[in-house]
């Protein structure tokens, strides 16, 4: 666990709503993401996701497809281009297709919902991502997490937790996750799913199975609230920061599961700072 309370961001976190949503959808395996807009919106984000992957020493080729709108699509409406792109992508049978909007299609009022409501043989999930509506990268993350969670149904609850909203573009995703796992292991609590970090679309169906959701950071509270409303799952607002934060994290998690944390926490408090 990093002890520096300032989160270490890559430079990506100030970006567009669209980028935020893509940082989520591109981490669901075997799915495709359609960006409904001019091709530049897709190109820039592809480059950014790829470059960020390289920064993190992984080679990512995100499955992005642009509807590549041109001027006549704007004048006559871009719904036909979206329909054609959905048909073409569905033919390649991904596990799911995410459809992300851009500024221009929300300006001209394309009926994305109507087009996506047709039958394509694979689940189609719409994530509203028009940046000009005042949203930020963080709104894009939240919109994607909530929209995709809408595909999961409530299910029986087990003794496990979900990790919610890992920052897939930050440098130390795995290190931060490993430390949270280490702490949870001390309490004997397993992780259900990392929502969303390199999971399959099928796994998302188990989203409601956790007894507790652990949010990456307080900015995700709206997502935590949505999941509570949908599945009844309570949440912890943030990954632990610092020693006292870690102690209260352990106590809160243990409390939720009815585990006595005193052995674990007691051992920690007597350790030298």
């Amino acid at each position: 666990m990093i002890l520096n309370p300032l989160p270490i961001h890559t430079s990506r976190f100030g970006g567009c709503t669209l980028t935020g949503a893509l940082s989520v959808t591109t981490h669901i395996c075997n799915t495709a993401t359609i960006v409904h807009g001019p091709k530049g919106c897709t190109h820039h984000n592809f480059s950014l996701l790829h470059a960020t992957g390289l920064d993190n020493e992984t080679v990512t080729l995100p499955a992005l497809i642009s509807t590549a709108l041109c001027e006549s699509d704007i004048v006559f409406g871009g719904e036909g281009a979206l329909l054609r792109t959905l048909d073409a992508v569905a033919e390649r049978t991904p596990d799911a297709i995410f459809v992300l909007s851009t500024c221009i299609v929300d300006t001209i009022g394309d009926d994305v919902v109507a087009i996506c409501s047709r039958e394509y043989g694979v689940p189609v999930v719409i994530v509203p991502t028009a940046g000009f509506l005042g949203g930020t990268f963080q709104n894009g993350v939240a919109n994607a997490l909530c929209a995709i969670a809408g595909t999961a149904e409530p299910c029986p609850v087990n003794d496990c937790v979900n990790i919610i909203g890992e920052k897939n573009l930050e440098y130390e995703v795995e290190e931060n996750y490993a430390e949270v796992i280490r702490l949870l292991d001390m309490l004997g609590i397993p992780v259900n799913i990392r929502y969303v970090h390199d999971i399959t679309f099928d796994e998302i169906g188990t989203l409601g199975a956790a007894r507790l959701n652990i949010l990456r950071e307080p900015a995700l509270i709206p997502v935590g609230n949505y999941l509570t409303q949908r599945f009844g799952t309570p949440f912890i607002q943030t990954f632990p920061l610092g020693l006292s934060g870690t102690l209260s994290f352990l106590e809160t998690v243990a409390g939720t599961f009815g585990i006595d944390s005193s052995r674990v926490v007691g051992k920690r408090t007597t350790a030298p700072e």
């Binding site: 001027e71 006549s72 699509d73 704007i74 004048v75 006559f76 409406g77 871009g78 719904e79 300006t107 001209i108 009022g109 394309d110």
Partner: protein
Amino acid sequence: MKQIALYGKGGIGKSTTSANLSAALSGMGLDILQIGCDPKRDSTRMLMHGNFIPTVMDLVRVRGEAPITLSEIEFTGFNGVRCVEAGGPEPGVGCAGRGIIATFQLLEKFGALKGDVIVYDVLGDVVCGGFAMPMREGYAQDVYLVTSGELMSLYAANNICKAIQRLSSRTKSTCRLAGVICNAKDQPNEEELVAEFARRVNSSLIQFIPRSRVVQLAELNRKTVIEYEPASAQAQCYRNLATRVMENTRFTIPTPLEIDDLESLAYSYI
């Protein structure tokens, strides 16, 4: 080259007035181009003897990136008046305003914007930036408002004054309010009311066009009044308008009214 644009509330008679104005101007021996800037594409119909001509946007839609030539979008109607319809998307989809911008860019590319007078007939209200295109730099310098004495029509005209005021205050802008045309609905005191409205928005009533049965008859015969009944008083009215448009030298930055002032103005002419 003179470029004029007619704006006003939907259904107020802009297309009828524009077509008759173009016909009258052509009768003065001038080379006229009328451009309909409305997805409804019916601006030039009476000049084309009832035919809906293919629109610029129709061709763009069908051809995509393939080249379009001027002869495919410009058609010669009554007395040599050249007619172009911008066209646009089906109702309820896309962006008609962007269609107008695209049309202007194509017309520029073709060098189609030439002649003695270009008459732009623009959709009801200036609903977005695209429909203000004819008022922007290099296009129509003289904007005429078409209105009746009805409050809603004056309200629309007043709104358009706001757009002209905004555009004309830009440093390089040459767009000005050139006058108000009263297309009458047979209301009492209508001419006086519209003349006073024009004065209040810092302009003047350029022509009063009375309501006349001959306008409907001409339309049913798919002609402009100028062509259908050239000896009628109504045709003379359009010819007077044409003369005044050509002789007009009063171009102003309008001063739109507050809604309360507009209502009390209309009230005082009941």
